[in-house]
Assembly symmetry: C2
Homo-oligomer: 300 residues x 2
């Protein structure tokens, strides 16, 4: 018998490949979830709305829904296009307003933010950045992006950071031109999953002692250094598919410390506490949506 | 006859070479100022206290004093060492508490922050970043540092950014090893005044068409790109001695746009409005101190 007491919120992890939906308690307990292949936008959102309608019928009505969504995305609540997917190669999605469509279909208040802002909100509430006043969530996968929280809100309002495209210093053994269609050898161009695969083959098949990991770690360590020197966050959570590689986080921490070269007087255990893996794993996006909904209900 | 109406605040621009003091109105009008060579810490602060005592006697009493101070510096109001200069090569200054000493000497509330946070506060109140909700002040001189304001406060609390030490991509014609004793070829190691002088001679003697400016602009453009992609500030104010070079700001804007390569869809005039020179010139530090005092009086 489903849990029926207390307040429930809906979370949506809107990805380019799958949309996941859940009902969560205010404590971040996922009571029920489903996933749908990301197809035509209207069909995808209809499937989400239908999920929340069935949950309500079963005694688990969401008070509000949050979508942690792929982008580019208009996340400015003051904008006429708040909730719209911006220019994207995904057929049919450019200009589609995921928020309005779901609000209409589900008959509920819906908020939307970037997938990384959502994941960060969840990690700060229930995961690896719990209790931190400032934190960053970096995803390293098909692309590289970051959600950054400081001084009580996400950075980059009314838009959002585009952290994947910062410049980095080349690793001395790396002659790869870079995979970014805009910038060639920016961070994303050198350290995203496609950039790794182009040089070393599929990341999942690379042995833990493959020398390519040192090169990847060199760039991701620079990303962490840049975040530290700019924002001084209490936590840097490194997520995304590439961070599933065993030991990569240790390489990153080592190179971070080596490159800072004692500048901030940070002992080894301080680095290990600063640069961490996600605490919520696959559920960061879903719980990110739920946390966005909770923040909305709390008036934040 | 001196202005005697209204509220006055004291501003101190605490530099490694000179300390400047002023009495300012709440509108940022400097009514009176003096400068002292930075000598032994006690003598320097005594000279400041004496200035404010004379101003009070002349009918211009400061309600509070703000110090925009050189560092490294403890700027955490919760810290037992709030207002202390940290480890510095300047003889006698390490561990000296500029705030406590001036508060005691002047008998007034004194607040202290970094020189760049102070300059940024002044530029946001009365200068080139007036009206911006988020902004950055970068100083490029003997070192490179940044004050960053977003979401209602400076970034990096309870410490401050160390932005000068981010990694950058090398200019293809630049083989200089870098001047930073910690990191060699970080931003400061490649683009600070000593790094420029080491390659091209004194910056003040470099002609406007010296090819070295393209190299300097390449690194400072990367700094602006990094700030944009991380913080999305409304204004990036570039100050410090090096920015006195005629035309350097234009080189930086051009390379910023060229390196972004259309990624953020920012027209030329948007770049010119984003990356700007200081509006307060030499007075940014003094008015920074005054603005810090005003924020304190306003309870911020």
């Amino acid at each position: 018998m489903p849990k029926q007491n207390g307040l429930f919120v809906g979370g949506v992890d809107g990805g380019g490949t799958t949309f996941k939906c859940c009902i969560s308690t205010v404590e971040g307990e996922i009571l029920r979830s489903e996933r749908f292949v990301t197809e035509r936008p209207k069909d995808t959102i209809d499937a989400c709305a239908d999920f929340f309608a069935r949950c309500a019928k079963d005694g688990q009505p969401a008070e509000a829904i949050g979508i942690a969504c792929f982008g580019p995305l208009d996340i400015d609540p003051q904008s006429a296009n708040y909730g719209s997917i911006l220019n994207t190669p995904k057929p049919g999605w450019s200009g589609f307003n995921v928020r309005n469509e779901l609000a209409h279909g589900a008959g509920l208040p819906v908020v939307v933010d970037t997938d990384v802002n959502g994941a960060l909100a969840a990690e700060m509430a229930w995961g690896a950045a719990r209790g931190a006043k400032s934190a960053v969530y970096v995803t390293v996968g098909t692309g590289i992006g970051a959600g950054i929280f400081a001084n009580g809100d996400f950075l980059g309002r009314p838009t959002h950071p585009e952290f994947g495209h910062i410049r980095v210093t080349r690793h001395r053994d790396d002659i790869y031109a870079g995979a970014c269609s805009f910038h060639g050898d920016c961070l994303e161009g050198l350290a995203s999953a496609p950039a790794v695969e182009a040089r070393f083959g599929p990341p999942a098949l690379m042995a833990a002692d493959h020398p390519g990991w040192e090169i990847v770690a060199c760039y991701l360590a620079q990303a962490c250094i840049s975040l530290t020197l700019t924002v001084r966050p209490e936590k840097i959570v490194l997520g995304g598919g590439l961070l599933l590689a065993p030991g990569l986080i240790d390489h990153i921490r080592e190179q971070y410390a080596a490159m800072l070269n004692g500048y901030l007087d940070m002992p080894t255990d301080a680095v290990a506490q600063l640069i961490v893996l996600p605490g919520l794993g696959d559920n960061a996006g879903l719980l990110g949506g739920a946390q966005l909904a909770l923040k909305r209900l709390a008036g934040e």
